[in-house]
């Protein structure tokens, strides 16, 4: 398949947050019956109607690359993971609403994927003082999804949702909170489905129709973003 036709979206997050269930839900509109550990990377394809309902509607196949693992694993695993981060058009960051650490690790995940060009060994900053400018400069659309919403008791929900709203704002991204075991959160017409559709539309737009109007082939556009940051990155 020609690389010009590909739309690639990474799905990143800690081990056990529900990425495989989420990807299965997004691609097949069905709940995954027997989730098991993902070794390496698993890919699935979502059929997306770009600009649905308008005369310019066109069908695209979006590849969702579910790259798993712990963000603190050895550097050999990191270097192998880096192979999948080439020519990415969008990133979905998944965290577990019942597990605060998984939300904090999202900063490390996003830096690992975005800074791949500037630090080949995957060394990343982790003391929480991430650089907002890096994300403001970033051209790749991000989406933050929180899973296991059903496991949060009603009285704690507003606190959790406030915290995740801050998180999404840090990434300059939209956020969706859902439960991967019921398809109704992404039912057609709900606000979540609209956000999702908007995200994929944005990914396709950035991929095929850039701001200055010229159509760029899908090569890695990220070489510009990592090179500017010459801070020494310290891994704890």
């Amino acid at each position: 398949m020609a690389s010009l036709d590909r739309v690639k979206v990474l799905v990143l997050g800690d081990s056990g947050v529900g990425k495989s269930s989420l990807v299965h839900l997004l691609c097949h509109n069905q709940v995954l019956g027997n989730p098991s550990w993902t070794v390496g990377c698993s890919v699935d394809v979502r059929v997306h109607d770009y600009k649905e309902g308008t005369p310019e509607e066109k069908t695209y196949y979006i590849e969702l690359w579910d790259v798993g693992g712990t963000v603190g694993s050895g550097s050999s695993v990191k270097s192998t993971r880096a192979v999948f981060y080439n020519s990415v058009n969008g990133i979905i960051l998944v965290h577990d609403l019942t597990n605060k650490k998984s939300s904090q690790n999202l900063y490390r995940w996003s830096l690992e994927a975005l800074n791949k060009d500037s630090s080949p060994t995957g060394v990343i900053v982790t003391n929480g003082d991430y650089d907002r400018e890096q994300f403001a400069d970033n051209q790749i659309p991000l989406l933050v999804i929180g899973t296991k919403l059903d496991q949060i008791p009603e009285n704690k929900r507003s606190d959790v949702l406030a915290r995740t709203a801050f998180l999404a704002e840090d990434f300059n991204a939209e956020e969706i909170n859902l439960d991967c075991t019921t398809p109704r959160y992404l039912a057609a017409g709900s606000s979540n489905a609209v956000k999702l559709s908007r995200f994929f539309d944005k990914v396709i737009e950035k991929r095929y129709f850039t701001r200055d109007g010229s159509q760029m082939p899908g090569f890695s556009e990220r070489k510009r973003y990592g090179a500017g940051n010459s801070k020494s990155l310290h891994y704890d």
Partner: protein
């Protein structure tokens, strides 16, 4: 001698032992059972009840464990502390021997660069390219499946519009052309996904080997390589001693340190206060042995933990690790007796009760030998198999 029974040292020994046994036999297994049960969705209602059931099963097997081993003398009552310690000791000693055996073989294998396969950058790049190609094939096949499904769905809509008798007959006899292909493609996709997983793991392995090669070129690496040679001699000696112990059925009378000092004194004629020095040196040595073995155990278990943890099972795994650590500690107290001078062995005997210590040493030797030999076999097979895999690239 009798004063000793009332001293605070003895008291603290006993208290610590009781608390550890309490935790190891009552608290942790119950907790583990509770978490395992709460992971299973069906049994959510009566968690406590099922946790108690699990705990009683554990206690049954724990008690049964004592039967095949000659670890009790008839002096003991049913509920004495020696019953519990002896059983915990058996499990812990087995564990220690397994880990020691594996560690004794794995340590030189890891440290010595003689065993490092030569990995070049082009090997890694070739493997990565293969991995990406496999992923691309999976993607293109999945796109075909999605496309076919969509067409079937749309055609299904059209077909559903045909109502009536003939419509039903038509929809039964004419199956959409894509459906037989779908299951075939799905099978191909499954096979390719399995291949991609294997390639990923191999790539990780190659990256790790490359890093080890780079590390071995540094000073630290060279130092560890040197240590590795010494260590391999020590491990071979240990295996040899274990074999001798089993074959000739002997239990060492004196500990190595006192033996060593006696030999030096006799050989070199140096004036040494054997008793005084042997006590201190053996104490330090025993401390070092325990610290390094526990550290080695923790490091291995941490790696293991990272490899298999997930948000569901991490509670259970932490508790299992705590259980293992506790049993390891109790049994290291048991085995430590061998390394201590004669007069101190009685202290351990007093604290732990009248156990058949010679049995434990014999059991340790047997399991150590078995574990060392099987890990030699295992590593040999793994080492042989790996280069051939890469030859077929």
């Amino acid at each position: 001698m009798y004063y000793y029974f009332f001293s605070s040292r003895y008291f603290h020994w006993k208290v610590n032992l009781y608390v550890i046994l309490l935790v190891l036999i009552f608290v942790v297994p119950f907790y583990i059972g509770y978490f395992v049960v709460s992971n299973i969705r069906l049994l959510q209602r009566q968690k406590l009840l099922f946790a108690c059931v699990v705990w009683f099963t554990f206690m049954y097997f724990f008690w049964k464990l004592g039967d095949p081993f000659p670890i009790l003398s008839p002096k003991h009552g049913i509920l004495s502390i020696e019953q519990l310690i002896s059983r915990v000791g058996v499990i812990g000693v087995t564990l220690m021997a397994l880990l020691s055996g594996f560690g004794a073989v794995n340590c030189p294998y890891t440290y010595m660069s003689y065993f490092l396969r030569n990995v070049t950058d082009s090997d890694i790049l070739a493997l990565e390219r293969r991995l990406l190609q496999t992923m691309d094939m999976i993607v293109s096949k999945k796109k075909r499946i999605a496309m076919t499904r969509r067409m079937m769905y749309q055609r299904g809509d059209d077909q559903n519009k045909q109502t009536g008798f003939w419509g039903m007959i038509k929809s039964v006899t004419s199956s959409p052309p894509g459906s037989e292909n779908l299951s075939l493609i799905q099978q191909e996709v499954d096979a390719l996904e399995e291949l991609s997983r294997q390639l990923f793991l191999e790539t990780v392995d190659l990256h790790a080997t490359k890093e080890r090669i780079e590390y071995s070129k540094t000073f630290q690496g060279k130092y560890f390589n040197f240590l590795g040679y010494f260590f391999s001699i020590y491990c071979v000696w240990k295996i040899f001693m274990a074999t001798i112990n089993i074959v000739f059925d002997r239990v060492g009378k004196t500990d190595p340190v006192t033996r060593g000092i006696e030999i030096t004194v006799n050989y070199l004629g140096i004036q040494f206060d054997v008793k005084f020095w042997s006590q201190h040196i053996s104490f330090i040595l025993v401390g070092i042995i325990i610290v390094t073995s526990i550290r080695g155990l923790l490091i291995t278990l941490t790696k293991f933990f990272y490899a298999i943890s997930s948000s569901k099972s991490s509670n259970v795994i932490v508790l299992v690790l705590a259980q293992i650590m506790g049993m390891y500690f109790v049994s290291s107290v048991l085995l430590m007796r061998m390394s201590m001078p004669l007069e101190y062995r009685t202290i351990v005997t007093e604290v732990l009760g009248e156990l058949q210590f010679s049995f434990y040493h014999r059991w340790f030797d047997v399991i150590f030998l078995v574990s060392a030999l099987s890990s030699i076999l295992f590593l040999y097979l793994a080492h042989k198999q790996a280069p051939e895999k890469h030859m077929t690239l």
